[in-house]
Amino acid sequence: MQLSREDLLKAYKQMRTIREFEERVHKEFATGKIPGFVHLYAGEETSAVGICMQLNGTDYISSTHRGHGHCIGKGCDVEGMMKEIFGREGGLCRGKGGSMHIADLSKGMLGANGIVGGGPPLACGAALAAKERKTGGVAVAFFGDGAFNQGTTLESMNLASVYQLPVLFVLEDNGYAETTSSEWSIGGHNPVLRARGFGIHGERVDGHDFFAVYRAAQEAVIRIRKGAGPQFIHVEFTRYYGHFEGDAMSYRPPGEVNEERKFLDCLTFFRGRVTSAGLLEGSALDKIDKEVEQQIDDAVTAAKKASPPKAKDLVTDVYKSY
């Protein structure tokens, strides 16, 4: 695993973009400007970025209700995302989907999904299409620890195994499904073993360490492209905010998140690692921080300026023809 300077800068920029995006959405939500249910990805950046960096334009990802990070990782336009989250014209889904349904099929991003376990079957289908049409494409199914107990996810692992589909199953274990701990909800407490039970090779990685995720993802995607069939990665980290905005997280011991942020933050970790190793200089990272801050600020400004959808849009886009 050799990351070029460009790769390192790209990795940091994307993770930073996700973090900044989410923290800003958090602020805006608090002021009441963002409608609906919003689930933030902050704390889980390594997964979206470490994995999507292995992908290209012919590849696909299916996402979850916590999809902002996946969108950014797969290259969705942040202004279009922000407008969507605000429910405005110019949003990626023209304001009809919102945070839980952001999608950009032109980028191979098959959509955030309001249904837990909704994504894996779609990833299997995208992989099947890629295989059928010999595009060399791979599909990644991102799903949470809670979704790992949903029948749709489990069936998809079996289907991918039976068809030897080019699918990477990524279990994003942030410790909780809403208020429920993943240690409790996953019978057997051994996701890698469960994947093996479907004939899928898997690996567990520390999600605080970008390089660990990147390495595991790289190896898995290479195996998949070589035709080794579906692979599985269990990424462990924690979520920084409530399940959705408004959740007080009383089910977590006080300080749990602060501890994580203080000692295990993936951005701090990355910065320390690359600067101490002399791979990147702090100034380059500071520069990215500023650029990103500006970019997100512009996105929010644009979103607030954007006009809402028009009444006539209510009944369009239901069918191609009807």
Partner: protein
Amino acid sequence: MAKKSFRQALNEAMRQEMERDANVIVMGEDIAGGMGAKGEQDAWGDVLGASKGLLPKFGRERVYDTPISESAFIGAAAGAAINGLRPIAQLMFVDFFGVCGDQIINQMAKFRYMFGGKATTPVVIRTLFGAGLRAAGQHSQCLYPIFTHIPGLKVVIPSSPYEAKGLMIQSIRDDDPVIFFEHKAMYDDEEDVPDEPYTLPLGKARIVREGADATIVAIGRMVKFSMQAAQELEKAGIKCTVIDPRTTSPLDTDAILSGTKKTGRLVVVDEASPRCNMATDISALVAQNAFKELRAPIKMVTPPHTPVPFAPELEDIYVPSPAMIQAAVTEVVRYR
């Protein structure tokens, strides 16, 4: 008797029934909350807090947080019900019925018939429905027409806190599977709700108000909107009867037919998608059985045939409004 919210009314109903009958249990995702976590237990009391306080009172023996495995735990509720328990299982949002529908429509609904009358399945599926929270296409549907369509299920849709408590207690005591619909945008509605347990019958409509000019039949949150419309219409001298069926299965056809015959003019208000919904069900009932008495075409007030949009500006015009109901009533009343 104090003012209580829809949420509190549901909470009180479940608590009182659990006190009365040790076989009543509750199940659901984060129904208490904090399972396996190191912080506060009973952290949520379900996603909108209606079950809060049940865990401290009844313990994990009777309050089951579940993994996100709707087929397994909704089916388990059915399996427990045919073996002596009276589970109340929450399907958090009715939109999720697609991942566990079989256990509802092919299993619990059909046991009694398929087994020749030898099964009794006293299970209540609580579920959130309806638009208004900017929750978009997969968290805002009504879907009760689907359950109403399935023989073997009872479908209960309370239209206020008072109704919610009485109908929930009755649903828990009922021996057939009940799908209990709770409109998420009504959780904070308040009204006087008696402290003691009471029941409201399933299959008996409520005549919310009487008026000689037109009859409005409305469901769930639409009852409230219809009452607002009726009050406005009153000012214009148009007097409406408003009927709340309370349950769509069984449906109180007598009340709907006689209520319609009195005025000869019917408006049906349904928040569900327009095709094969309760508006069509009730319109058809009346068209077949009150033809002579009808003095104007039946008007249906429903959303358009589209998913529920996210943008507030769109969702607000998606949901039938008091103004739309008013316009519909005016139209049928003016009809000559």
